[in-house]
Amino acid sequence: MTDQAAGIPRRESSLLRFVRGAALIRESWVGMIGFAIVLFWVLVAVFAPLLAPFPPNQTGLPLSPPGAAGMTGGVYWLGTDQLGRDTLSRIIYGSRQVLLYAPLATLCAYLVGIPMGLAAGYRRGLTDDILSFISNVILSFPVLVLYIIIIATIGASGTNIVIAVTFASAPGIMRIVRGLVLDLRNREYVFAAETRGESPWRIMLVEILPNARGPLIVDACLRLGYVVITIGTLGFLGLGLPPPDPDWGGMVSELRQFAIVDPLLAVFPCIAISSLVLGFNLLADGLREVSLRD
């Protein structure tokens, strides 16, 4: 006997629900612009080999101005750096690094921060005191100071950047989650679950966390933007990914030194990184608008 015949309505596929939820972003034009920018860079990263006019590490005419012709055909649309490498191609390939490590690092930070925040906010007492103290200790280091010390100690590499970002961001995430949990744990449905004798982790993960997803998603977007800035800054300071792989921050640092020759050269990777962060920030703002209306 089918469900309908028994008077039981059909269950809606959860994928369909997710897509419908995500499509809500259409309601905010700010969010749509942000989404478009991010999508643009994702496509650039995915199709990098097809889009870049030159291999990113191939040397050529050093410090050519934007629009100059290459040695063996092709145009250096955005000029070249001191080793003659095409800036445009390096920007295109550089997006891959950023869009690989930034989401990865953010995800790891959330995987660490969320359970900590849940435990601190729900269980309170000693757990909360210890976790909050630890996170305060880590957060009392000015962020970049912390990064410099960590990277200087364990060395610079992609994995180490992920580790450093996770370490430095998890306490902040823990604080946000803890704040949300402190608010949500007083809701009656949580009280109802407690009267049923549900286990604490079940309550945290099934009853509380889904209702915190709005602010957390917005925070995730903002944090993605911030991690992109961090990766760029570390690259600028020479603590990012080792050469010769293109790294937007490192490119800016190198090209700045030749600003006497052409100040415009260093501007292009700055525009690239700023636009990506702008995309994430606008997306976050749009999501916040939409979640408030819900």
Partner: protein, 310 residues
């Protein structure tokens, strides 16, 4: 209130202790590593052991930690490997420079951020609000090194109004401060404005503002006496905490503009593995950060009558 302050300071000291243990463990526990960093990699094992012996590095770790901590408290940070002078000789002047830079930047960022935040929050969703919000999003999307590059290429190379570096070689020159301050203010005002706006917007929707309006008070009085008094409590804390952020933010700015400040010092020290300098910088930075956090906490409690008198 007094008990609260004592407890907060107690927590602060505890935090500093834990941080000091972490720093010690990270940097000084490996005595071999310390010797290499101080004496250079081209020394022999005997030379290193001799030096380690003479400087008490073979004593038990606890003793070394306590001695190290004691030295820190009295201000003896050891000698800088790179500069070949006591660390304090280099550290304090640089810290003062950063203090000047930070204070000026914080002043302008707070001024702009608070003013625009209040205006935006007064009428949520209005024209001012959208304008301020969009501007804030734009400016916080540009990393400091990027805005430094933009400003430099515009003001230094195109307009040729300002110098490209801020080394202050010929004594203090306020013109050289302009670009570094601009970079810091551009990034920071947006955050302060957003927090202020959120606080103001929330206050404007409260029932007591409705009561004030329906009492027939002039609008200016409602804003000044009722709204601001409550709305500015949170931004105050935010501004205090910006000092912590500034210690981070100045690093990039000082490196970009060659400003002889504390951030650049830490950066160079880490590049050169100048161990005692790194330790000193880290401890000082954390101390300033924790101190401002504690003061912010105490200030927030003091300003909020609900907590102060409960």
């Amino acid at each position: 209130m007094l008990i609260f302050m004592v407890r907060r300071f107690g927590t602060m000291i505890l935090t500093m202790l834990v941080v000091s243990i972490l720093v010690f463990l990270l940097l000084e526990i490996n005595v071999e590593g310390v010797a290499i960093k101080v004496l250079g990699p081209y020394t022999s094992v005997e030379q290193r052991n001799l030096w380690l012996e003479r400087n008490g590095y073979f004593d038990p770790a606890i003793l070394r930690y306590l001695r190290w901590l004691g030295n820190f408290v009295i201000g003896d940070f050891g000698n800088s490997v790179r500069f070949k002078v006591p660390v304090s000789d280099v550290l304090w002047p640089r810290l003062a420079n950063t203090g000047i830079l930070g204070a000026v930047a914080l002043f302008f960022a707070s001024l702009i951020g608070l003013t625009l935040g209040v205006i935006a929050g007064m009428r949520e969703g209005g024209g001012h609000d959208r304008g301020v919000s969009v501007s804030a999003i734009l400016t916080t999307s540009v990393p400091e090194f990027a805005s430094a590059t933009f400003l430099a290429s515009f003001f230094v190379f195109y307009l040729q109004w300002l110098p490209g570096t801020s080394g202050m070689i010929d004594g203090f020159d306020p013109v050289q401060l302009v670009l570094p301050v601009m970079v810091l203010v551009i990034y920071d005002w947006g955050y302060i404005a957003r927090m202020t706006r959120a606080s103001m917007a929330e206050v404007m929707t409260t029932h007591y503002i409705r009561t004030a309006v329906l009492k027939g008070l002039p609008y200016g009085q409602v804003i000044r006496r009722h709204a601001l008094r409550n709305a500015l409590i949170a931004p105050f804390t935010v501004i205090m905490l910006q000092i912590n952020w500034l210690l981070s933010g100045v690093i990039v700015v000082e490196v970009a503009f060659a400003y002889k400040g504390f951030g650049a010092l830490l950066y160079e020290a880490s590049l050169n593995q100048d161990i005692y300098l790194i330790e000193a910088c880290a401890m000082v930075a954390v101390f300033v950060a924790v101190m401002t956090q504690t003061l912010a906490d105490i200030g927030y409690t003091y300003l909020n009558p609900r907590i102060r008198f409960s």
